[in-house]
């Protein structure tokens, strides 16, 4: 429909020191209104100290059908984890 407002994705920082986290989406005619609507919709109980809004159409996502080949390279590299290495009992602070 012609007058439909675009969709925005909303990210909220719940308190200083934490990252913004995706909380949901909403419709608004522009970015400014999206921030105001996000305030009313997602922070009615002090859930946030900062809001990001991103037009949903501007988000590029990986394809779940390709997730196996996409993430496969990391799967067999267990030497990237500290638990792969043996540290002698006598050695501390490591």
């Amino acid at each position: 429909m012609k007058n439909e407002w675009p969709l925005w994705e909303v990210f909220i920082r719940s308190k200083s020191g934490l990252s913004h986290k995706h909380v949901g989406s909403l419709h608004a005619s522009d970015a400014e209104m999206a921030v105001e609507n996000a305030r009313d919709l997602y922070t009615r109980r002090n859930e946030g100290v900062s809001i990001w809004v991103v037009a949903s159409k501007d988000i590029t996502a990986s394809d779940p059908d390709d997730s196996d080949p996409l993430f496969e390279p990391a799967k067999d590299k267990i030497y990237r984890h500290p638990t792969f290495y043996e540290v002698p009992n006598e050695v501390t602070h490591m």
């Binding site: 007058n3 407002w5 005619s29 522009d30 009615r44 109980r45 779940p64």
Partner: protein, 319 residues
């Protein structure tokens, strides 16, 4: 992969309790069932604002008025979380709203009953929100990720709704004899419609088996209804009010309350549009939608103009 393999893979994810996310492959029927269920749920939240919004100007104190405003605003919020969840499945918001306004989409029948006096606001919070919570707590574990996440938010907020309703009932049940009589009258009118909120008996429910297999639902209508009766009876006893059911009694052997049969004729009649307020509710929604049309148009025009204003400057720089 053939669609048969995809379907088997999908079901194995469900069986392993792996959530389904928006871009994952899913059977068409799963998608359609969810769009229908989530949008009906969203419509219920939005129509649910009407019986209570009706009392904002007549709340008996400023405290009650602030609480009621916050509650009705929450219902709007819940509707919006749910519409957003439905949109992740490819539904279009405006289509969903149009289906409601055209009378093609269903919403919870409970909101087709009138709120006759202030005690009804107590009964709605206590019983109607209480029944909704039973269903919604179950849905926090539903198999579709965005629906489950919306439910977690909603349940956190809904708990205040039920408590403020019960607080109204406590105040009235302990007030003057007239106030206590109002509380009892309100329980009499809302009890059976609240039990109807859980839907038809399992044996009559058309979508139940598949919804359980897909873990959209995890408890049957009758299980949830029994759970609601079991927790609500002691709450009524505390208030000193009588639940309007002569067959209601504790069954030691079952470990549950036995209760009387719902008037299914009334249930189906309200579902089919012949409840006390069906027409009034739809009319109010259509009026709100039409009255808001110029605001939606003006906001789009304003946004377009702002975009336009940006253009000459940037193209001048480029030149």
């Amino acid at each position: 992969m053939t669609s048969l393999n995809l379907e088997a893979l999908f079901q194995s994810k469900i069986d392993e309790e792996i959530k389904i996310e928006p871009k994952d492959w899913m059977p068409d029927a799963y998608r359609k069932t969810l769009i229908r269920q989530i949008s009906q749920h969203a419509h219920s939240e939005i129509v649910g604002m009407l019986p209570e919004g009706n009392w904002i100007t007549r709340a008996p104190s400023l405290r009650r008025k602030l609480i009621l405003l916050a509650k009705v605003q929450d219902e709007a919020g819940h509707g919006l979380y749910l519409y957003s969840a439905a949109e992740t499945l490819g539904a279009n918001r405006d289509d969903l709203v149009q289906q409601l306004l055209a009378g093609k989409a269903k919403y919870s029948s409970i909101f087709n009953y009138p709120t006759l006096n202030w005690a009804d606001l107590g009964a709605i919070g206590w019983l109607v929100d209480g029944a909704a919570i039973m269903n919604q707590v179950m849905l926090t574990r539903t198999s579709y990720g965005p629906y489950a996440r919306a439910m977690v938010r909603i349940c956190k907020e809904e708990s205040f709704h039920q408590r403020q309703g019960y607080e109204i009932m406590i105040a009235m049940a302990n007030g003057s004899p007239e106030q206590k009589a109002m509380a009892q009258d309100s329980l009499n009118r809302w009890w059976w419609p609240s039990l109807m909120m859980f839907g038809p008996h399992d044996s009559e429910s058309t979508h139940s088996d598949q919804a359980m297999k897909w873990k959209i639902k995890r408890k049957s209508n009758d299980e949830l209804r029994q759970q609601f009766v079991d927790v609500t009876v002691p709450q009524a006893e505390y208030l000193g009010l009588t639940i309007p059911d002569t067959k209601l009694r504790w069954n030691e052997a079952r470990g549950h309350y036995d209760f009387g049969e719902i008037d299914w004729e009334e249930f189906w009649s309200v579902v089919k549009g012949n409840g006390p307020c069906n027409k009034q509710r739809l009319k109010a929604r259509i009026k709100a939608y039409e009255d808001g049309a110029w605001v939606r148009e003006a906001a789009v025009a304003h946004a377009a103009k702002k975009e336009q204003d940006k253009l000459p400057e940037s193209s001048a720089k480029a030149a």
